[in-house]
Amino acid sequence: MKETLLSLKNVSKAFDGKTVLDSLDLNILDGEFITLLGPSGCGKTTLLRLVAGFEQPDTGSVTLSGHDITHAVPEHRPLNTVFQNYALFPHMSVYDNVAYGLKMERRPKDEIRQRVDDVLAMVQLQNFARRKPHQLSGGQQQRVAIARAVVKRPQLLLLDEPLSALDYKLRRTMQVELKRLQRELGITFVFVTHDQEEALSMSDRVVVLKDGAVQQLGTPREIYERPANLFTARFVGETNLFPGYLASVGDEAITVDILGLRRTLQKPAFDVRKGEQVSVLLRPEDIRVLAPEDEQGLAGKIVERNYKGSTLDSVIHLEDGTEVLASEFFDEDDPTFDYKLGELVRVSWVDGWEWLLPVELEPVNEEAEGLATDA
């Protein structure tokens, strides 16, 4: 079991009367890559600033390796930040940018040179030491920002949407690079993003935030396969939501009626009673699209098809109006596999892959709709 490095207890923060963080508790383990994931305005950047010391919480405490740092100034905290727009000093060379933190520690000149050279080699910028930031590409500036932060060997590295300014390909490269750096350095990374794909592929654990509160904390797999609520389910990936009616409830198993289909499932962790409604969640890749003459499944018709290269994504309208997203891998045995718009099909799914959640009252204009857009 890893030890707790950073611990936030009952942390609240409001700006102009608007609550940004709401009595939040969070423990970050030593050496892990943890991601704060949420839509814009969920409080993830504020949380990062509280840890870095740029904001003070209204209530609660921040503890780093057993020391209370709630009110410590940023310059006295043994952690460093990679800023969203890098915040490189424009009047200093790459070398001076990276050396800045060590100069502030008044390290001997030889040691500074050695450590700066080492870290620049690590991010493959040893030949760019004399350049000014504006003479570098976005990806190179990003590396300088990382080098500048890790050269001080912090206990904790905070990364505030560091990849959001890069184009898609460079982003993928930097994601791999960041994972490599984290493994090599053994530093705890706290990574902020609104990109769920990035969060899932990079993290040891993911914290899903909404309205200043933790929605779920878990491994990427837990978050994706067993979301704690509808918000997490919808924010992390695409989701099909079916209304379920509890036909019977036993000690171990329950029977759910889903639009007329009866399924026997394992009893969920939350309270269920016979006659109640539940939400049945299925990921698009769990859905199987069958021929219309098939006996099982729900009848519907194809209203959209999107060729995605490795998958064929389709939208199916069921007879009662429910919209279903399906994402199917191409089948090598069936090279003509495709759908026509308006084609009649039946929809089914792999038995036992359903995920049940209590029915939530959804406010109109649910923010979860416009998800991955962000500033």
Binding site: E75, T81, F83, A87, Y100, M104, A149, K152
Partner: protein, 295 residues
């Protein structure tokens, strides 16, 4: 891309009549009203004084030699000293002012800048006379201080170098604040945060980040204050008595009273050269920041 020459090629003249007209207007304006007068001044400075027609041949550098006459050298050095002190005080007041200004909400910033600009609507000569009323022996300041019993005799403030410096600072302060405000407004808060994050305290951050990044604004402010301060002869006339305190007074006297145009012109050229040196320094400091626009 290679920069095109200022003169448009003929076939474009007809294709883009508006652009051509605007360019011609700008170039014409600069040639007629900036370059020509300056060349006339340079020309006048190398001619000989003539009591009848002001200027005559032969060409000579006598006027420039005369600038180094101890009498005038004294005026120059004194003028430089006065302008230097003025600039120092403008910077001392303007730098923290601009810094604080940039940290306020947008609405308050607009209001304060507006208040800063309002005095420009009144002629500076009128404002200098107003200052005279404040500083006079039986003026507002002295009367108030005596009324309060803080002093028994009126202080001598008017017709001192101090009065001239107060006047110069008063008139030129906005020219220091505006360029400084502009650089502080551009200074990204994230850079200061990054500095703190890397372990620098307030003083280190100020010296290593704030000062270097606001230096172009400081130099622009110094340019806009130092040289005009040497030339504002009427301030020295009204608040300093009729002594040759500033280069501006010398130039004015040479043209209007002594009728020595070549010498007055030479003194003007000297000021222009000083301006050129400062402009060059400003350019250098901006290049050092790497034309920040890209970051």
């Amino acid at each position: 891309m290679k920069r095109r020459k200022g003169w448009p090629r003929m076939h474009r003249v007809f294709q883009q009549p508006f652009k051509t007209a605007v360019l011609l207007l700008v170039w014409g304006w600069l040639l007629l009203l900036v370059l020509t007068p300056n060349l006339l001044v340079v020309g006048a400075s190398v001619m000989t004084r003539d009591p009848g027609s002001f200027l005559s041949l032969p060409l000579t550098l006598d006027s420039y030699r005369q600038l180094f006459d101890p009498l005038y050298l004294d005026v120059f050095l004194n003028s430089l000293y006065m302008a230097g002190v003025t600039t120092f005080f403008c910077l001392l007041i303007g730098y923290p002012f601009a810094w604080a200004l940039s940290g306020l909400g947008k609405q308050r910033q607009t209001l304060l800048i507006f208040l800063l600009i309002v005095p420009f609507w009144t002629n500076s000569l009128v404002r200098t006379y107003a200052l005279k009323l404040l500083l006079a022996t039986n003026g507002l300041t002295n009367n108030t201080l005596m009324g309060l019993g803080l002093i028994n005799e009126p202080l001598k403030m008017l017709y001192t170098e101090g009065a001239v410096i107060i006047g110069l600072v008063y008139l030129l302060l906005p020219f220091m604040i505006l360029p400084l405000y502009s650089v502080f407004d551009d200074l990204k808060r994230e850079l200061l945060m990054a500095s703190h994050d890397l372990g620098a305290g307030k003083l280190s951050t100020f010296l290593h980040v704030t000062v270097p990044l606001t230096l172009p604004g400081v130099l622009a402010g110094v340019m806009l204050v130092l040289l005009p301060a040497m030339g504002l002869f009427f301030v020295a006339d009204i608040l300093g008595g009729s002594r040759n305190l500033l280069v501006g007074n010398v130039i004015k006297n040479q043209f209007l009273d002594a009728r020595n145009w070549p010498f007055g012109a030479a003194a003007s050229v000297l000021l222009t050269l000083a301006m050129a040196v400062l402009l060059f320094a400003h350019r250098l400091s901006q290049r050092r920041l790497g034309e920040e626009a890209q970051t």
